[in-house]
């Protein structure tokens, strides 16, 4: 079998030599290792003052996008809920009334859209499933809270505000776009 590293040692239960029996050489080499670590760079990030840099394609808290005119893109088709492996998404669809054209893009919209952030595994399958480019994962993190109820995020938290749009282009790398294109083509086939 091929070894993964060259650091593995073959162990045996042979009798210990005198030097091994008195422990001291082993202890000495041990304390040399620990003292070396005292002067190494610490791995800690002092969190509230400093934040760790996120990956470009970090999958964090979701956003429900609006279109250019500020109307919600989601049509409550339910594909994201079907795609979700953790079954974290629920929604209630409703029909658009007259005069609400500036609020909702198409005739059907999600009256209620909830993601249970405790169930969500942030896999991004909802984003892949969405045919309307309505849901995206962003580099924002889901913050801590006191109760389980607070983690069921409704539309108030998910839909992006009109005057504070959330940038989702960072995640749309050429590879991701290519992947989505391929998927669309395979659907049509």
């Amino acid at each position: 079998m091929e070894r993964l590293t060259n650091r593995s040692k073959i162990v045996s239960d042979k009798k210990m030599t005198f030097l091994e029996k008195i422990y001291l050489p082993a202890i000495l080499s041990g304390i040399m290792i620990t003292i070396k670590h005292m002067f190494k760079k610490h791995a800690t990030v002092r969190y509230p003052e400093k934040t760790r840099e996120f990956s470009e394609i970090y999958r964090g808290m979701h956003v429900l996008k609006r279109d250019d005119k500020g109307a919600e893109r989601c049509t409550a088709c339910g594909l994201c809920a079907v795609a979700c492996p953790a079954e974290a998404i629920t929604m209630v669809a409703a029909e658009r009334n007259k005069g609400e054209e500036n609020l909702y893009r198409e005739e059907k919209y999600a009256a209620k859209y909830e993601i249970n952030m405790l169930r969500c595994i942030f896999c991004g399958l909802c984003e892949e499933a969405c045919p309307k480019e309505a849901i995206f994962l962003t580099d924002r993190i889901v913050t801590t809270d006191y109760g389980r109820d607070e983690f069921i995020y409704g539309k108030d938290k998910l839909v992006e505000p009109v005057n504070a749009r959330i940038d989702v282009t960072k995640r749309q790398t050429p590879e991701v776009l290519e992947f989505k294109q391929q998927k669309k083509l395979s659907h049509n086939r």
Binding site: I27, G30, I31, I33, T34, I35, H37, M38, K40, K41, H42, A43, T44, R46
Partner: protein
């Protein structure tokens, strides 16, 4: 300033310093552990987390004090108190410094120089094990009892080797008084050549140090309170400041045993070239006390260093090391020392 007033002040100072060192040892322990594991350790309370011991102390005071229903109430309180008292008592015979000259009168920076100093330390430390034993037994808990039994067995086993290792030193210096042992090493290098005792008795020092680790219940000999096997060992049932007393007393023990090691083997308050620099007596004393504390802090650091390096011994390994390893070694060391003294006196 009368002698009495000076002694009272000295006692208060030693008491305060012991507690201060214990409090900051807890901080240092966490910092050293963190640094050796590439972490930062406590750094939120005050600059660099320096107020952390205060926060910890406050937390321990505010915690609910739980006394188990089935425990022996009197002994349950006596255990931690006894452990703390014995820990604080040992500081009395340590020479914290040389003579201090105030208004033409020499004051010794040692609370009392009894002629059996080292024996006194041993005696008091041996009483300390009762604190653990009583506390563990009074909790009426199997884990506590197991921890207490382990603690007493371990302390008794290692005290034998520790005592024998010291006898070699006592034979060499011809005194039991810590002050005189300290004086014996005065001068350091330069002037009149007196080396530290560790040069003459390295093996004795090694045995003494290993036994000191065991006596303080420190890793790798922390079997009485090993979390992985016994929850918390003898202090499983203790909470609030009673637990605090146990933890605190342990750090005071560490401080005192560091001081003892520094005094016995590393010249105590003596430092190299102390008589060659042309300093006044008071200056030498003050620098000497600083040097002693430097040595003590190094040993405390060494305690922590070892703790975060070596895993815990198995119980049979512990007993093997104590009875079959250290005890014969200490006796051998004793015989060799005796032989050398005999030959020297003849020639």
């Amino acid at each position: 300033m009368t002698l009495l007033l000076f002694k009272v002040l000295l006692i208060l100072a030693v008491f305060a310093i012991s507690l201060f060192m214990a409090a900051y040892s807890t901080y240092a322990e966490r910092k050293v552990a963190a640094f050796m594991q590439d972490r930062l350790g406590p750094d939120r309370a005050g600059p660099f987390g320096l107020l952390q011991p205060l926060a910890d102390g406050l937390k321990l005071f505010m915690k609910e004090e739980i006394t188990p229903e089935v425990s022996n109430k009197f002994l349950f309180v006596l255990g931690p108190s006894l452990f703390m008292i014995t820990a604080l008592m040992t500081g009395v015979v340590i020479p914290w410094g040389n003579l201090l000259n105030i208004d033409g009168i020499n004051y010794s920076l040692q609370i009392t120089d009894i002629n059996i100093g080292i024996l006194y330390v041993f005696g008091v430390v041996s009483i300390g094990v009762y604190g653990i034993m009583i506390g563990g037994w009074a909790s009426n808990n199997k884990f506590s009892l197991l921890g207490a039994i382990r603690a007493s067995a371990q302390m008794i086993s290692y005290e034998v080797a520790m005592g024998l290792s010291i006898i070699a030193l006592v034979m060499m210096t011809g005194t039991l008084s810590l002050k005189e042992i300290c004086e014996y090493q005065a001068g350091g290098v330069g002037g009149n050549w007196n080396f530290w005792n560790v040069v003459y008795q390295p093996l004795s020092f090694l045995i003494f140090m290993i036994c000191a680790f065991a006596e303080c219940n420190r890793a790798p000999f922390d079997l009485p309170e090993c979390e992985t096997e016994l929850v918390g060992g003898y202090h499983t049932e203790f909470s609030s400041m009673k637990l605090g007393l146990y933890l605190f007393a342990e750090y005071i023990n560490m401080f005192i045993s560091s001081a003892t090691m520094a005094t016995l083997f590393f010249g105590g308050y003596n430092f190299p070239f102390m008589h060659d620099l042309g300093l006044s007596q008071n200056a030498i004393t003050i620098i000497g006390t600083g040097v002693l504390f430097g040595k003590i802090i190094f040993f405390i650091f060494f305690f922590m260093w070892i703790r975060w390096t070596i895993p815990r011994f198995r119980y049979d390994q512990l007993m093997n090391l104590g009875w079959k390893g250290l005890l014969p070694l200490a006796i051998g060391n004793l015989l060799i020392t005796g032989l050398f003294i005999l030959l020297n006196n003849r020639g």
